[in-house]
């Protein structure tokens, strides 16, 4: 009761909501960092996943990266990159954090894109080709629309993991919501630790919910009436759920 009250006080204290180290600034840093890392990760993982899934070439890459992603030691990467990025421009801790998060974002997006594209029924693809669709048309009219829910779910997994893991950036000297936790530890300020953790959790949940809604919107219709649970259209294994449970 005591702690909860203290956390509440911390969360609602006006001085914590202003200034260059206030909650809004840290929140915005956190969101920016997470978005940048996820977007750059997607820019690389999405085309690669589409290529591998469509051509069915270099499939071991998608599988290996997908599996590797589940065991990715973000903390280790942070430490590893810390030393050799010290001289890079930008705020202290930015690059190690960014690199660790960027690497974290790639596996789920790559794996889900690959599985989504490859998972489109082979006969349907063959019939489309047989009707005279060009390769690009097979991709844009058939494979990508049907793979979209799985791709978005890959993005969701990546974004949620990145948001949660961005907290580590504070250890390397970068900002974000992790600052409250790390600084709280160093001065023994329990309400601040818990308050910071709560904010991170809230942001992660918001990310999850946001992408969840997006997933619903982009799922192509395969029934004229809306039916309960009708959003699952894709055959094939959803690597997403596996990767999700491992994070």
């Amino acid at each position: 009761m005591d702690l909860f009250g203290a956390v509440w006080t911390w969360l609602t204290a006006a001085e914590n909501w202003s200034g260059s180290a206030g909650i809004p600034v840290r929140l915005w840093e956190h969101i920016q960092m997470s978005a940048q890392a996820t977007i750059l990760g997607a820019l690389i993982a999405f085309p690669a996943g589409v290529y591998i899934g469509h051509k069915r070439r270099f499939e071991f890459v998608a599988v290996t990266v997908g599996n590797f992603g589940r065991a990715l030691p973000s903390f280790g990467i942070l430490g590893l990159t810390y030393t050799f990025t010290l001289n890079w421009p930008g705020n202290i801790g930015f690059w190690p954090t960014f690199i660790a998060l960027f690497l974290l974002a790639i596996p789920p997006i790559l794996a889900n894109t690959y599985v989504g594209v490859k998972g489109v029924d082979a006969d349907t693809v063959e019939a489309a080709r047989g009707m005279g669709m060009r390769e690009g048309e097979v991709l844009t009219r058939l494979e990508l629309p049907l793979a979209t829910p799985l791709i978005v779910s890959g993005l969701r997994l990546a974004a949620v993991q990145v948001v949660a893991t961005a907290t580590l950036g504070a250890v390397a000297g970068w900002g974000g919501l992790g600052r409250f936790i790390v600084d709280g530890f160093s001065v023994g300020d329990d309400p601040q630790i818990v308050g910071g953790a709560l904010l991170v959790a809230l942001l992660a949940v918001a990310t999850e919910v946001g992408f969840g809604l997006l997933e619903r919107v982009v799922t192509p219709k395969t029934r004229s009436q809306r039916s309960a649970g009708g959003r699952r259209v894709l055959p094939g294994p959803a690597i997403g759920s596996e990767a999700g449970s491992a994070s």
């Binding site: 349907t124 693809v125 019939a127 489309a128 080709r129 009707m131 219709k221 004229s224």
Partner: protein, 368 residues
């Protein structure tokens, strides 16, 4: 014979992973407007042959010509847009409605909206589809409906050539028969050049102009009309493949109107019973057909006539079954063996009396 629409010249396909050829040295021609059915055991290269025609598979050697041009010298996409393609699993786009599915090729071809819509309503009437189905998705159709939509989609841009790989394979026998009848009906009107693959020899016999019976490696064992294959199987392989009941299957190919029916005992309502009884005795029958001005009224039997003055004193009884010129000899045979009198009465549409058919007559037709 018209110029061949599809010509295969010594075509061989060897897949990388195997040393045995899927198809070896296959040559065949399909005439313009002809339906050729490929049958043969599983793995004999039917699908491979078909896919080489639209270049989903490239031959290892040999040449394939469609409408006089080597397929390998054409742009694969252009070639395929001119060839309707139907496969057993159909492969409708699951996220597109029935109408959108049917519009696939016209859309790829850049038709404008109005023309596409017109074409779709044309297809709806050709295939006797339910208008309300157009806005549904493939997962909301029955198997038979899906098959029809698949064939309609393949025909949408009116390609001169159709490749159909077991298109009716996945439906029950009753639906399949309906689809076959509809196929025949549509093909009679559209006269496409069709290569059709099936496992079902009866389906082949029913719809083919010519049947190619293939053995492993795409080796042609016999390439002939259904009638010829049934009458004169080229070898044991064909005989085994065609199976039992060759005679019955041939009967199913012949129409009653193609043979000469026999005379049977006939009388008119105005005749005297005595004349009718005499006519009846001449044929050694105990019943007689009553015909007025060529129209079949029914039949009366000996005991009825014996009690009457004139034929018109006896009410003619209707035939429980008679066959028409359109009936097959197999149906006529069925009518004969299930009638008490072992005779089938032949009348045309509108009850015009033609004559009778007996077991001996039909049996003579297949023996000769």
């Amino acid at each position: 014979m018209p110029e061949a629409m599809i010509r295969l010249e010594d075509v061989t396909k060897r897949f990388d992973s195997t040393d045995q050829s899927a198809v070896e040295g296959l040559s065949m021609e399909v005439a313009d407007g002809e339906t050729v059915v490929l049958v043969g055991p599983s793995g004999c290269g039917k699908t491979t042959t078909m896919k080489m025609i639209n270049r989903l598979v490239e031959p290892t050697s040999g040449h394939i010509f469609v409408d006089g041009t080597d397929v390998l010298e054409q742009d694969a996409v252009r070639l395929r847009r001119g060839i309707g393609y139907v496969i057993q699993s159909i492969g409708l786009l699951p996220h597109r409605t029935v109408a959108q599915n049917m519009a696939t090729v016209p859309k790829l071809e850049g038709w404008e909206g109005g023309r596409i819509e017109e074409r779709i309503s044309e297809l709806v009437s050709i295939f006797d589809l339910d208008e309300r189905m157009l806005e549904r998705y493939p997962s909301e159709l029955s198997g038979g409906q899906r098959q029809r939509v698949g064939v309609a989609r393949a025909l949408a841009a009116d390609p001169p050539v159709m490749l159909m790989d077991e298109p009716f394979g996945a439906v029950d026998p009753i639906v399949r028969e309906r689809l076959q009848d509809q196929f025949l009906d549509i093909q009679r009107r559209l006269q496409k050049t069709i290569v059709f693959v099936t496992h079902d020899i009866d389906e082949a016999i029913k719809i083919a102009d010519r049947i190619a019976i293939l053995n492993v490696g795409g080796k042609i064992e016999q390439f002939a009309t259904p009638e010829e294959i049934l009458r004169q199987p080229a070898n044991d392989f064909v005989r085994k493949f065609v199976g039992v009941e060759r005679g019955l299957k041939r009967l199913a190919l012949m129409k009653v109107e193609e043979i000469r029916v026999e005379d049977g005992p006939v009388t008119a309502p105005g005749s005297s019973s005595k004349d009718a009884l005499e006519e009846l005795a001449r044929f050694d029958f105990d019943w007689i057909s009553v015909v007025e001005d060529g129209e079949l009224l029914g039949w009366v039997d000996r005991s009825g006539l014996e009690k009457a003055e004139r034929v018109s004193d006896v009410d003619p009884r209707p035939f429980s079954a008679y066959v028409t010129g359109e009936s097959t000899l197999r149906e006529a045979l069925d009518s004969i063996v299930t009638s008490r009198t072992q005779v089938a009465v032949v009348a045309t549409e509108g009850q015009r009396y033609k004559g009778i058919l007996t077991l001996e007559k039909i049996s003579k037709e297949i023996v000769t």
